[in-house]
Subunit: 203 residues, 2 copies
DNA sequence: ACCTGAACACCGTTCAAGT
DNA sequence: ACCTGAACACCGTTCAAGT
């Protein structure tokens, strides 16, 4: 607590952690370069020693978000190995739970807070790795005849879009009450995934 | 040009129009209460006579965005009356074109810029009317056997989620190059819509 | 090399005052 | 009723200076 934070040691990661905490505790509206610096216990201009601007810091926070999402999906996958249909459903559910439980970091990752004029290679790498996780599941489903024959990455994109869109609309409170009053969101998700499946998917 | 803008007459709508223009010309990063006031030619505190805070102004701008989206979808619908399959494809395309051509107002409408602690009745009304447009098309498709039997509003939600998710991922540059290099976005959209259809949908 | 503090041009919001 | 202008507490970014 009372440590000298001159030569902090790992201020860069401390700033990323502070940003993640602010998103979880106070929400996206409170995420500023200065609030992140305050939470990390340094002056408001200290972050510029490690990030060239606010966008670069947000890219690093988004990258950490993708690492957490990747981890959740990987766990969901491993819990149902050799049952690709269940893996697909578990991935969809894990994606939805991540979005609902960690709303604000999910929004930072996907809601254009990160304007991508620059490249951010670590961000691109983990987001592509996440997509490849889905491609693997979709491929396994196709081999078992659960999903129809089609270019695997095209089908994976369609399924990602389906789940992502449903979750995004839910976060924005755009899903009609005539639907939600009769069907909990988990059921809506299952219904949407079943549009792609040749055999009924269940939980 | 050189009019007295004391007692502007319709400053409220002038501010909304100014906000829409800023989104189209300068982008979401430039949308501030003060920039909107500047473009409308009034002082930075004048908007408070018509909007209780920035969120309420953004809600009004989002409402105008939904009116424009509604109008595009309605036009797409009327261009293919009595051919529900084509209506569905045309709606999906119109939704995608709106998002790509008017990126920043689309983002304001859907990307959580509008934190919905308050209600904004006009916003809710036009967004529900837009959903009902889709419900009508889906219902017509079901009657013709193009879409499978299922609760119509559930199916409409699934299709909206599919198109919205695909478009959102495209805006965030999250769609893999292994997909986009082989398939233009229009084709990916058609592929995703065909997941729902019992007969092949075309343009 | 890493961090501070003053400075600058912005921002949202409030409020007394002007017409 | 509608709008202005000063004021306040924020924000991102820069830069000279400190250790």
């Amino acid at each position: 607590m009372a440590e000298s934070n001159y030569h902090h040691g790992d201020l860069k990661n401390a700033l990323i952690a502070a940003g993640v905490e602010i998103l979880a505790r106070e929400g996206i509206a409170s995420l500023s370069l200065r609030s992140v610096a305050r939470r990390a216990g340094v002056s408001h201009s200290a972050p510029y020693a490690h990030f060239s601007d606010k966008q670069t810091l947000i890219a690093a926070i988004s990258t950490e978000g993708f690492r957490r999402l990747y981890s959740k999906l990987d766990t969901a996958l491993n819990a149902h190995s050799a049952e690709p249909g269940r893996q697909l459903v578990a991935c969809g559910q894990a994606y939805m739970r991540f979005a609902l439980n960690e709303r604000d970091i999910f929004k930072v990752m996907f809601s254009g807070v990160l304007e991508q004029e620059k490249e951010y290679p670590e961000f691109v790498e983990i987001s592509q790795a996440t997509f490849q996780l889905l491609v693997k599941v979709v491929d396994a489903c196709q081999e078992k005849g659960i999903l129809r024959p089609a270019p695997t990455d095209l089908l994976a994109t369609a399924i990602w879009g389906q789940v992502h869109g449903l979750v995004s609309l839910a976060l924005e409170k755009q899903i009609s009450h005539t639907v939600l009053d009769l069907h909990p969101l988990d059921e809506v998700l299952l219904f949407t995934l079943n549009q792609f499946s040749q055999v009924p998917l269940t939980l």
